[in-house]
């Protein structure tokens, strides 16, 4: 076949053209105004109030978790404030039969998907019962190895596809996670099998201290989906409506047999990476913090709902009160969990103990009975 003589070698231009196409998708702007009426999901008043209530609840949960951690009553905790829209509006687009594979910051999504709150606290406290996911709750415990959940999600999605289920696997990582090999393997496997998976990268700007610009030369993380041949979009991760629509849209496609999608939610974590000594002032300025706080998901959603006349101070106070009460109850329940024993741990290694564990079981049973 003769070469097209007018064709120029210009890979730079190709890249530019692709990158220009990745515009950030937004529906509700920072002032709480709908700027993209066509894309408005037109959630019912009840749904809007429910989503707002969950975001308020989760902000309180974050505050309480931080203070419990400081009192030495919680253990491992990765703060979530700033990411409520990204986390909760995406979960809001799911059905109960969808399966969530969370990263370690994604505890709110699995709680709203059915994991009892006291178990989330037990997970933080390092008690094995925290991860004993109850029957019928379709979540996996928070993943610690960054990116591992992406290839596992491809597996869950492939399994659902083989079972003919009308459900999706959804997984979350961060901007740092999108540099992992497992990130690429996950989106690539799901793409190759056209499995019903939704991959979310919550680009909260920093992987611990490493800024987003250092992770990749790619202008957006969303465009990485192109390499796997899967639809991908960058959304305003502080805009609950945009996150909801992008997730719902990706879910619908997956259910229709059109394969996986990648969503980059551009957001910010107000707090430290975890409560284990990270100090964000070493790598971020307060100017950056306050610029992002102006985009706060709760503030803009509150403005929007108040203008619609379906939210007010009293309603919010009610939710806050309820959150505090439920958190208190959950902590009480977590406090009541049995003291963890080595014998418990030995018994969850295999279906049947091999000789070495049997012998060790006898040793620790004796030791722990004293």
């Amino acid at each position: 076949m003769a070469a097209n003589k007018s064709q120029q070698l210009d890979p730079k231009k190709t890249l530019q053209e692709i990158e220009e196409k990745f515009e950030m998708f937004q529906i509700l702007n920072e002032e709480g105004k709908i700027v993209n009426e066509e894309a408005n999901p037109n959630l019912s008043d009840e749904e809007l109030v429910e989503l707002m209530s969950r975001m308020v609840f989760t902000r309180i949960l974050d505050q309480r978790s931080i203070s419990l951690n400081r009192q030495g009553r919680l253990g491992f905790y990765a703060p979530t404030a700033g990411q409520e829209a990204s986390q909760l509006a995406s979960q809001f687009a799911l059905e109960k039969e969808d399966f969530i594979l969370p990263g370690y910051r994604d505890v709110p999504q699995i709680v709203w998907h059915g994991l009892p709150l006291y178990q989330a606290f037990l997970f933080s406290r390092g008690h094995f019962m925290g991860n004993q996911i109850p029957e019928g709750v379709n979540v996996f415990p928070p993943q610690i190895i960054i990116g591992a959940q992406f290839i596992q999600a491809a597996g869950v999605a492939l399994g659902m596809q083989k079972r003919g289920k009308k459900a999706i696997a959804i997984t979350y990582t961060g901007d740092g996670g999108s540099s992992q090999g497992d990130f690429y393997e996950g989106i690539n496997f799901a793409g190759a099998y056209r499995s019903p998976a939704v991959f979310i990268v919550q680009n909260n700007q920093y992987a611990i201290s490493t800024p987003r610009e250092l992770q990749t030369s790619a202008k957006t993380i969303a465009q990485k989906g192109i390499a796997a041949g899967i639809p991908s979009v960058q959304v305003d991760g502080m805009d609950p409506l945009a996150v909801y629509v992008a997730t719902k849209d990706a879910r619908d496609r997956a259910i229709n047999g059109e394969g996986p999608s990648l969503i980059e939610t551009v957001c910010y974590r107000y707090g430290p990476h975890t409560m284990a000594g990270d100090d964000p002032t070493r790598y971020r300025t307060s100017d950056t913090d306050s610029a992002w706080e102006k985009k706060d998901p709760l503030v803009r959603f509150r403005t929007y709902l108040e203008a619609k006349g379906i939210w007010n101070e009293e309603k919010e106070a009610e939710v806050i009160e309820k959150a505090k009460e439920e958190i208190k109850e959950a902590i009480k329940k977590a406090d009541a969990a049995p003291k963890q024993k080595v014998t418990d741990l030995i018994n969850i290694m295999y279906e049947e103990n091999p000789y070495n564990l049997d012998e060790q079981l006898a040793y620790y049973t004796e030791k722990e009975s004293k």
Binding site: A192, M349, P354, N356
Partner: protein
């Protein structure tokens, strides 16, 4: 009874379990239409369809992660890692994820996954194909590790591995794939995991081994027999967990033992066996328990393989030291 090679016995086991349980899925690089680079999955895609036996993109970590996810959906995945030297790419999926699934979730989930993989020296492969890396697996709590040495054992052990509700690493020595045939019943049968096999009975010395070294040990036993020594050869078959009862019963009978492994001496499967014998049967011993193993270098370039790998002469020499102690 059919005379089969080990690779044919493995295919038979896979076929049996694909037939028995619709949750069994076989996948990996080139396992579909190509039937695997060693033909372990020959004909299986045709027989069971692309839904049950399928190719994956070329990424070992992805294959491991896929197995985790499929297990979460209630499947019984049997992935293949094309060569076990590539295991470093999938270490997190195995040791960090699969092995911990039951533990991490307090028993809410388990991982009935069997990872099959060829390994082993003596067949002149390029680098990263032949290494004996089983210690990486046995140092991982939560998995079982199986290494068959005969076609008969391969079929029965693989069926047991697939039916096991915990992850099993099933390592297949490349040199044994086609080097000899053995009797393999056509009907299904199982061999329990964690159970060693006395491949030869004797009264003066116990040789404990696994994999291809079982055959070197049997040859050594014959040579020693000619010199009047009655040698017992135990094939561990499962190296995690060990069959302590069989090992100790034999040592209590013979009072002398050596342990033979193909892996480097520092890769301590043999060291672990020696420690167990020392802890449990030291008063039965008439001599120290010695090891035969490869030198502690990286697996050699293929031209040096035959001198590097432990062989009959090494085993006989070490056995004599123990017999004459």
């Amino acid at each position: 009874m059919a005379q089969l090679t080990m690779i044919q016995a493995i295919t038979e086991a896979l076929r049996t379990e694909l037939k028995n349980d619709e949750n069994v899925l076989v996948f990996g690089e080139d396992v579909g239409v190509n039937g695997g680079v060693f033909r372990a999955t020959e004909g299986l895609q045709k027989e069971f369809g692309e839904d049950r036996v399928f190719d994956t993109p070329l990424a070992e970590s992805g294959i491991g992660g896929l197995a985790v996810g499929l297990a979460l959906e209630g499947f019984r995945p049997v992935p293949e890692i094309q060569f076990f030297g590539f295991v470093f790419e999938v270490m997190d999926s195995i040791s960090g994820q699969l092995a911990r699934m039951r533990f991490r979730t307090g028993g809410a989930f388990n991982a009935p996954v069997t990872i099959r993989s060829p390994f082993g020296g003596g067949v002149h492969t390029p680098e990263m194909h032949a290494d004996s890396l089983e210690l990486l697996m046995t140092s991982t709590p939560g998995v079982k590790v199986v290494i068959p040495s005969t076609p008969y054992d391969a079929k029965g052990l693989l069926i047991s591995a697939i039916r096991d509700n915990d992850p099993v690493i099933f390592l297949e020595h490349m040199k044994l794939y086609r080097s000899f045939r053995g009797e393999v019943p056509e009907e299904e049968y199982t061999i329990p995991l964690g159970k060693a096999d006395v491949k030869r009975e004797g009264t003066d010395l116990t040789i404990i081994s696994y994999g291809a070294m079982v055959h070197e040990s049997l040859k050594a036993a014959e040579e020693l027999e000619k010199e009047g020594h009655s040698v017992e050869v135990i094939d561990l078959r499962t190296i995690q967990p060990l069959d302590i009862e069989t090992i100790i019963a034999s040592v209590e009978k013979t009072n002398r033992a050596i342990v033979v492994q193909e892996a480097q001496k520092q890769a301590g499967i043999a060291a672990n066996v020696v420690a167990e014998i020392t802890e449990r049967a030291i008063l039965s011993l008439e001599a120290p328990v010695l090891r035969v193993a490869a030198p502690d270098t990286v697996y050699p370039f293929s031209q040096a393989e035959t001198v590097w790998l432990p062989g009959v002469r090494d085993i006989v020499e070490t056995a004599k030291k123990v017999l004459t102690f």
